[in-house]
């Protein structure tokens, strides 16, 4: 059985801010990490590998060359193969173009039995790429899987989160799932595996190796959405500021609460 896990490198800090005066966005670009939700996707693949015999796991990521780091991390966790999908032509991709590019890479290396994605990324935060990928590959999918009840070589039974209720379904392979944090507790990277996989190669795929050679299906050209502009959030509330000793402030607060009839 083959499993592909889709992972992404995201900024280590969420502190991107726009300087209101200069309009410059500031971010500490030095630190980058694996999308935290994707650790659960990797963990799910590894648990399945431990449960069934003859399971091969592959992690794939699309991003700039330095995203290789998340594939190395996947190796340290126990993933067997890593694929880095990188090309300047992929730059500026929205979810549609990202999912399409991933689908082309997966067709190139061969459709697995199961594809696992994280529920969402912490930078894009759209939770769209997984479902769009399933659609491009014409696979059934379920999102926000909380639990895998059982598993055979032909199908899995999983529980998906639908808000106030859950739905348990049987999903035939090949299929795609996106997993929620409740599914398993991710393991920590192993130093032993780090040493053992130090020289393990990472396969790189670029535009020229993908089945669809029409460049307009990738990157910005292949994207349907356009960022018109980015700007700092604006607020309109009338604000009154109080300063003083804790007792004065507490008494001001209680005045408001009394006026609101909360007290």
């Amino acid at each position: 059985m083959n499993i592909i896990v889709c992972i992404k490198q995201v900024p280590g800090t969420t502190q991107v801010e726009i300087d209101e005066k200069t309009g410059v966005m500031k971010r500490d670009t030095g630190s980058a990490k694996m999308n935290p939700y994707d650790l659960y996707a990797i963990e799910t693949a590894l648990r399945i590998k431990e449960e069934l015999i003859d399971v091969q796991t592959t992690a794939i990521t699309m991003g700039p060359p330095q995203s290789e780091a998340v594939l190395r991390e996947a190796y340290m966790l126990g993933i067997d193969h890593g694929i880095l999908l990188t090309d300047r032509k992929f730059g500026g991709a929205d979810c549609l173009a990202t999912a399409y590019t991933l689908s082309q890479a997966i067709l190139k290396i061969g459709l697995p039995d199961l594809i696992i994605c994280g529920k969402q990324t912490t930078d894009g935060d759209t939770a769209q790429v997984g479902s769009e990928l399933a659609e491009f590959l014409e696979l059934p999918h379920i999102a926000c899987v909380l639990k895998i009840n059982s598993l055979t070589n032909r199908s899995l039974e999983g529980v998906m989160d639908l808000g106030d209720f859950t739905q348990t379904v049987e999903l035939p392979f090949p299929c795609l799932i996106t997993v929620d944090k409740e599914i398993y507790e991710p393991r920590l990277p192993s130093y032993r595996k780090k040493i053992a996989t130090r020289d393990r190669p990472i396969q790189t795929l670029s535009f020229s190796e993908l089945p669809d050679q029409n460049p307009v299906h990738y990157g910005l050209d292949g994207s349907a959405t356009r960022v018109m502009r980015v700007f700092p959030p604006v607020h309109h509330k009338q604000n009154q500021i109080f300063e003083g000793t804790p007792d004065t402030l507490a008494s001001e607060i209680s005045k408001i609460l009394i006026k609101m009839k909360v007290l």
Binding site: V10, P11, V16, I18, G23, V24, M25, R27, T29, P64, G91, G92, C95, L96, A99, T121, G124, Q128, S131, E135, P140, H141, A143, C144, E157, M160, D161, L162, G163, D164, F165, Q167, V169, L171, V216, G219, D221, A224, T225, R226, V227, V230, P232, P233, K237, N239, Q240, I241, F242, E243, P246, L249, A250, S251, E252, I253, S254, L257, M260, L263
Partner: protein, 397 residues
């Protein structure tokens, strides 16, 4: 190829240029050549803030849909296994009506399920002109691929310009499939929507995982898809004089389920923070889990619930259902007291419509001050105990 193009001759300081890109996508090689790598998100900050002419944005229009063929705004409604409509429908209808009136569009609602109760008046008064119902035993349980087949059938026949989908777990699983099927754009978790006279939808959402907003359009594709979380918009004023058309649709040929339904289970009912009139929100101003007792006591005294920001959930201090914000719950209580909360966009997106917002924060420049009605600048470790004492004394008198 569309993207950012560099004119190196117009750049005087190569070191400075590297830091221009918030995504680190500008690479300067040791030999002085400069290029943009695949990390580029085309946010155009380099075009705006770089030296004049140094960075150029080029866009190739590959194929543009004829916008005049796509008219109307559609809301994709969710019908719950409990036999009820998901209330986000009414919020989306209100917004759809407002947008439609600006450009002279009709508003339609699509319902997919089995044994859907027909309560047309409810939808007319909330803004719908037409309701399209796909009702069949096969459609009883949510199945993203199967439901996408239905939405595709509807979209190709009715050609709506805009499709709004509730940002519920089911909506967020279905909408991307529909977008990919129709090869069009989808913007997740919009917090504001507007429409241009040429029917381009203006979509605003927090972006790039930071304290910034992005304005997004789908300029060449139709339909334009957007998801909006529950309680971001308010339902419109009901208008009982309105009328509409209730239409049962035939299922497209060759439809089949992609997954096998085994069970639907209602989650145990818990008291949700969304249902509370008064919320005390704890942020990272609290230094230890034990200190939350202060916020909890205040909540108890005021008859409210304790809620929190995301870092506290990540630290495991409280249950995830207590998280306020874009990736948590959207709340609109009568009173919200934010204690030690900085007021990031992701947080405020989930609470800024609260009726009365108080903030206790020792930083006079915290962003929360911009949305709070009243800000109290000081140490929560001193103010909350003083307030608790005040309340106690008041009660004893």
């Amino acid at each position: 190829m569309g993207g950012i193009y560099i004119h190196p001759e117009k750049i005087s300081d190569f070191e400075k240029v590297k830091n221009l890109c918030p995504f680190g996508a500008i690479e300067v090689s040791p030999d002085g050549t400069i290029q943009i790598n695949s990390g580029c998100r085309v946010c155009k900050v380099c075009v705006k803030n770089g030296e004049p002419g140094a960075f150029e944005y080029r866009e190739d229009v590959i194929s543009a849909t004829d916008k005049s063929e796509w008219q109307g705004i559609t809301v994709l409604g969710e019908f719950l296994p409990s036999g009820e409509y998901h209330p986000v429908i009414f919020e989306l209808l209100g917004k759809a009506r407002e947008l439609a009136d600006k450009v002279g569009f009709r508003v339609s609602l699509v319902l997919i399920g089995n044994e859907i109760p027909a309560i047309p008046n409810l939808f007319w008064s909330q803004g719908a002109d037409q309701v399209f119902v796909y009702d069949a035993p096969l459609l009883k349980y949510f199945d993203a691929r199967l439901y996408a087949d239905i939405v595709e059938d509807f979209a190709l026949k009715q050609k709506p310009s805009v499709i709004l989908v509730g940002g519920t777990p089911a909506g967020r699983s279905l909408a991307p499939r529909v977008a990919a099927r129709l090869r069009t754009g989808l913007t997740a978790d919009c917090t504001e929507l507007d429409i241009q006279p040429n029917s381009d939808l203006d979509q605003i959402r927090p972006a790039f995982g930071g304290n910034i907003m992005a304005h997004i359009r789908t300029p060449y594709h139709r339909p334009q898809l957007a998801t909006v979380r529950y309680k971001i918009f308010s339902p419109g004023q009901p208008d009982d004089s309105r009328d509409g058309e209730w239409i049962y649709c035939d299922l497209p040929d060759g439809l089949s389920a992609s997954i096998k339904h085994i069970a639907s289970t209602e989650k145990p009912k818990v008291h949700n923070i969304e249902d509370s009139d008064i919320l005390i929100v704890a942020g990272r101003g609290f230094k230890k889990k034990e200190d939350l007792i202060l916020a909890r006591q205040l909540a108890d005294e005021l008859g409210g619930e304790l809620a929190c920001t995301r870092p506290l959930i990540e630290a495991g201090w409280l249950e995830p259902r207590r998280q306020v914000g874009l990736s948590g719950r959207t709340v609109k209580p009568r009173l919200l007291i934010a204690c030690g909360v900085s007021g990031s966009v992701q947080f405020t997106a989930g609470m800024k419509s609260s009726e009365m917002i108080l903030s206790i924060n020792n930083d006079p420049h915290a962003a929360i001050n911009q949305i709070a009605n009243y800000s109290f600048i000081g140490d929560l470790y001193q103010i909350i105990p003083a307030l608790l004492k005040f309340i106690k004394n008041g009660r004893e008198q």
